[in-house]
């Protein structure tokens, strides 16, 4: 408890010191230093809990009506804290390089660092707070600081709009959350999560269901599940790269943490909750993946892939929920371990990808893939980082994304004796996950292939050298994490297994006895995967080195790319991102709305002509349509019905009769 308060104080003091009238470089240094100290303090506290130590509990008396402020750090919170703070620290280090151009100017960089400290602070409050008000306070601090971090470039109207959009969305989520907490407080009569859990376990029924739905909406908005995702691509495209990385990889994982926490508080969730969670997450994964296909803004693309990945993690939590309702320890272990590992893996590779995108922006001043090309030659380290992250995000071996998806597949195709319909449904989700994987491979091939390979497409874009060292170091560390967690997946499992143990401990006695070897089996499976992944990686490296050695003996000739006999090939004739995705995207017209703006060549001597293809968010479009012209479209629909038409009158009467008869029968009223 003392260490926790010390960490909070260090972060607060650091934030305050960042605001002092000092040179910008010093402010940045203070920010990074305070983050380092806080990370060390929290790490010292978290490590014992993760490896099986006791749950840390602390209390602090406070005035009425807040009551005693309870802090409780169990394995679940410890798991999230264990990587959230170090990653925020790396984000602050990256910010030092990303904000380099501002360091010598009048711009107050200290505010930015103070806000990064507040983000770290919010993690401590959310993941360790047992009092609902501490939890909500942390939640709100994270939301507000993320908003202020997003609008770094506030002079740009688009950035302000994106920030405002985020602010509104996150507060709508907060309202749902507050509503759920109000219901829980009225019933439990106390603020701590334990009392909430006690009430939830005793009272399954419509009120618990309502609370679950409210919480799911709130957390869904926080973690940008479809259809609550529309704020996300805007915010991620507008924010500085490290802020996008932290939001997508770390801050919004709080929504998933809270989801798991509250699901576990219910004791035994109803079966429909698991199915709803799976359906909701599968939709997110599918739609998020489809949206990545059409994007031309690299950061927007990565933003959509967050929606996809929270969906994939959510599928895992859904499997775990079903396991809890069916008293099936294997599914509980696989579902929650797979989901939590995916959360961790996603944090690693998503931050890596955003950092690589930020380096591209820093060097070329654009993230529009249609204007980029050939960056791999000029920025080899950034390209390598993006490729590693891209392979991981497509869930391909030998990197970490594959491990968590493998675990999820082993839950979906568990081969156990489940109800018939359930087995088919889970297989269908597995097939959908396979499709999502292939789609994300498509879009990452497209992003990497168009932006980093080939030749530069736009002569106005200059890429001279790599981005600053401050940006490359965090990128390298994340890449290292991606590789290590892929080759030694037991490390990832080690971090989550105590947390999964909490869920297993909630199962009734008989099922608990069966759960003894479950985590051990899982560890054996993922270690085998890691071994094979490592072998593959090593084999590729060996062959590559051998080939380079042979190539040194007889150097290869170089010649122009085969152009089918056409000699005057130029860079503009390369395949573009839009053409790469058009064949696939055409089949999903309802979701991937393509817009084209063009100026056709005119006259006998056309001066200039252009065509811009982009993909807009269909959900957001419809949302805005309803807000703006909802009344108009409703009356337009009603105008299509003619009240004086006898057929319409008859049909309406019939429908009314059927509805009344149905209600009467359902109520079982006067007929009996």
């Amino acid at each position: 408890m003392g260490t926790l308060i010390a960490a909070v104080l260090v972060l607060l003091l650091g934030a305050a010191a960042c605001l002092l009238p000092l040179p910008n470089r010093l402010r940045a240094g203070i920010g990074i230093l305070s983050q380092c100290v806080a990370t060390g303090l929290v790490g010292a506290m978290v490590a014992p809990v993760l490896v099986g130590g006791e749950v840390l509990v602390g209390e602090l008396a406070w005035a009425y009506p807040v009551g005693t402020l309870r802090v409780r750090l169990d394995a679940l919170g410890a798991f999230f804290l264990a990587w959230s703070l170090p990653m925020t620290l790396l984000g602050s280090v990256y910010a030092r390089g990303y904000l380099q151009p501002y360091l010598g100017t009048q711009r107050h960089v200290g505010v930015h660092y103070a806000l990064l400290n507040m983000v770290s602070l919010s993690f401590v409050l959310v993941y360790a707070g047992d009092h609902a008000l501490i939890f909500l306070l942390g939640w709100e601090i994270a939301a507000l600081s993320a908003w202020l971090l997003v609008i770094w470039d506030y002079t740009n109207q688009k950035v302000r709009f994106a920030g405002f959009n985020y602010l509104v969305s996150t507060h709508i989520g907060l309202m749902f959350l507050v509503a759920a907490v109000m219901i829980l407080y009225t019933h439990a009569g106390a603020w701590d999560l334990g009392s909430f859990g006690a009430w939830l376990q005793r009272n399954p029924g419509s009120e618990r269901n309502a609370v679950f739905l409210l919480l799911l909406t709130g957390f869904g908005l926080k973690s940008a599940f479809f259809p609550f995702h529309s704020w996300l691509p805007r915010a991620h495209a507008a924010a500085p790269a490290h802020v996008s990385a932290l939001m997508s990889g770390v801050i919004h994982k709080a929504g998933l943490y809270a989801l798991v926490r509250f699901v576990w508080l219910t004791g035994t969730p109803d079966e429909w909750m698991g199915w709803l969670l799976i359906a909701f997450s599968a939709c997110s994964a599918l739609v998020g993946a489809l949206y990545t296909v059409g994007q031309r803004d690299l950061k927007r693309l990565l933003g959509y892939s967050s929606t996809e990945n929270v969906g994939i993690a959510g599928i895992g939590f859904g499997i775990g929920c079903l396991g809890m309702s069916w008293n099936n320890p294997t599914l509980v272990a696989i579902g929650f371990a797979g989901g939590l590992m995916h959360v961790l893996n996603h944090a690693f590779f998503k931050c890596l990808l955003f950092y690589a995108a930020g380096s591209v922006y820093q060097v070329t001043h654009t993230v529009d893939i249609e204007r980029l090309g050939g960056l791999a030659r000029r920025m080899p380290w950034t390209a390598a980082g993006f490729l590693v992250g891209g392979i991981a995000i497509s869930a391909l071996p030998p990197f970490n994304g594959f491990v968590s998806e493998f675990t999820l597949y082993s839950g979906l195709f568990s081969g156990q004796d489940l109800p018939a319909g359930a087995q088919v449904a889970l297989c269908a989700v597995g097939a959908l996950l396979a499709f999502v994987g292939a789609v994300s491979a498509l879009s990452i091939t497209r992003a990497f292939g168009i932006a980093f390979l080939g030749t530069p497409r736009d002569p106005a874009v200059h890429a001279k050298a790599e981005a600053s060292q401050w940006m490359q170091v965090p990128m390298a560390l994340h890449a290292l994490g991606v590789v290590l967690l892929g080759v030694f997946p037991a490390l990832g499992l080690l971090m989550v297994q105590r947390a999964v143990g909490i869920a297993l401990g909630q199962l009734p006695g008989g099922a608990q006895a069966a759960s003894v070897g479950v985590l051990g089996d899982l560890a054996a499976t993922v270690s085998r995967i890691g071994l094979l992944a490592g072998t593959l990686l090593l084999a590729v490296l060996v062959v590559w080195v051998l080939r380079a050695w042979v190539g040194r003996i007889s150097p290869a000739a170089r010649s122009a790319t085969w152009g089918c006999g056409y000699a005057a090939v130029n860079a503009r004739m390369q395949y573009t991102g839009a053409s790469f995705s058009s064949d696939f995207g055409r089949r999903f017209d309802g979701i991937l709305v393509r817009v084209q703006r063009q100026k056709a060549p005119e006259g006998y001597f056309p001066a200039d002509a252009w065509l811009v293809t982009d993909c807009v968010d269909a959900v957001e479009r419809r949302l805005f349509d309803v807000i703006r012209h909802g009344d108009a479209s409703a009356s337009a629909i009603s105008r299509q019905f003619r009240e004086d038409d006898p057929r319409f009158a008859f049909a309406a009467g019939l429908v009314a009769l059927v509805v009344i008869a149905g209600l009467v029968l359902l109520a079982g009223g006067p007929l009996q």
Binding site: L396, A420, C427, A434, A438, T445, G449, A556, S579, F584
Partner: protein, 309 residues
């Protein structure tokens, strides 16, 4: 027993090395017969590979180191896939629970590097091929997993070799075998770039899928790409053979091996006949053809869940 297993592993590896060359030979001979010619010798593609290995490669001026490395990633990943996929029946050298995920995803890794190598040279034609490959594979991917779901319900197994090899023991084998083989055959045509999804003999860059992606490869890298392509063909042919193989490789290894060889040969003849008798589909129609596989597989899944438990 363990000597038996080692022998089986050796046979599997030898077949994985030899069958890609032989099967391509059989397909080409079959096509030649339909065309009234004798056709090349069976080992022709092997000689071609040797010839390529001796040649000095020419790289595009645009290509990065990824281009050269990509070819070997494709080769090694396909090889790992071939070690997981059963060929002789209910046996594969590498087998553990849910290894089919690793199979599908190593082939995915191979595909990713194939597409990236294509994009690396900055040619519009190769980009076109990569886009087609990406889109077709996305449509084909669910079919494999639906099929595995169906086999899982019918057999109660979780490793690829047992899922495929143990279908014999299932009461629904008799009527499940035809649609399952059909799905695998469609997947083979898609993964190994055969007619009607892709035509390996097409003469125009604009209409190619696989061939256009390796246009700029030469020498040993082209050999690696070509062998990886044929390896995928023989892997899928091996899957079909393992599904139909009436002998158990653990009890009757010799009979199972001979049966596997004959069945794979028969699959190659079937590929050749299809290629001789039908034209490839229009590119826009291909996703529909691939969705047919998913549809068939989901019907199998529903049926297996209703009657096969």
């Amino acid at each position: 027993m363990s000597a038996n297993l080692v022998a089986l592993a050796v046979v599997h590896v030898l077949m994985a090395l030899a069958m890609p060359i032989l099967l391509v030979g059989v397909v080409n001979r079959t096509k030649a017969r339909w065309g009234g010619r004798t056709g090349p010798v069976l080992l022709q593609s092997g000689w071609d590979l040797l010839r390529l290995l001796r040649k000095q490669p020419v790289y595009s001026l645009v290509a990065t180191p990824l281009f050269r490395a990509g070819a070997y990633v494709v080769l090694l990943a396909s090889a790992l896939g071939a070690l997981i996929a059963p060929m002789l029946g209910a046996y594969a050298p590498l087998h553990f629970a849910h290894d089919f995920v690793l199979f599908a995803y190593t082939l995915g890794l191979a595909r990713l590097f194939l597409m990236l190598s294509a994009l690396d040279v900055g040619s519009a034609f190769e980009g076109m091929g990569a886009a087609r490959e990406a889109s077709f594979s996305a449509f084909a991917e669910p079919a494999l997993f639906l099929l595995i779901g169906c086999l899982g319900i019918a057999t109660g197994q979780t490793s690829f070799a047992l899922l495929v090899g143990k279908l014999h023991a299932s009461p629904v084998f008799a009527w499940l075998v035809v649609p399952v083989v059909a799905v695998l055959f469609i997947l083979l045509q898609s993964e190994a770039s055969r007619v009607p999804v892709d035509d390996p003999l097409t003469h125009l860059e604009l209409t190619m899928v696989h061939e256009v992606m390796v246009l700029d490869h030469s020498g040993p890298e082209l050999a690696a790409m070509q062998f990886a392509g044929s390896l995928k063909l023989s892997t899928y042919a091996g899957l079909i053979a393992a599904l139909l193989n009436p002998f158990s490789p653990l009890d009757e290894p010799v009979a199972a091996t001979i049966a596997a060889l004959l069945l794979m040969g028969a699959v190659a003849v079937a590929i050749g006949c299809v290629e001789s008798l039908t034209a490839r589909l229009r590119l826009r129609r291909v996703p529909r053809y691939l969705l047919l596989a998913s549809l068939l597989a989901s019907l199998c899944l529903a049926a297996a869940s209703a009657w096969g438990r």
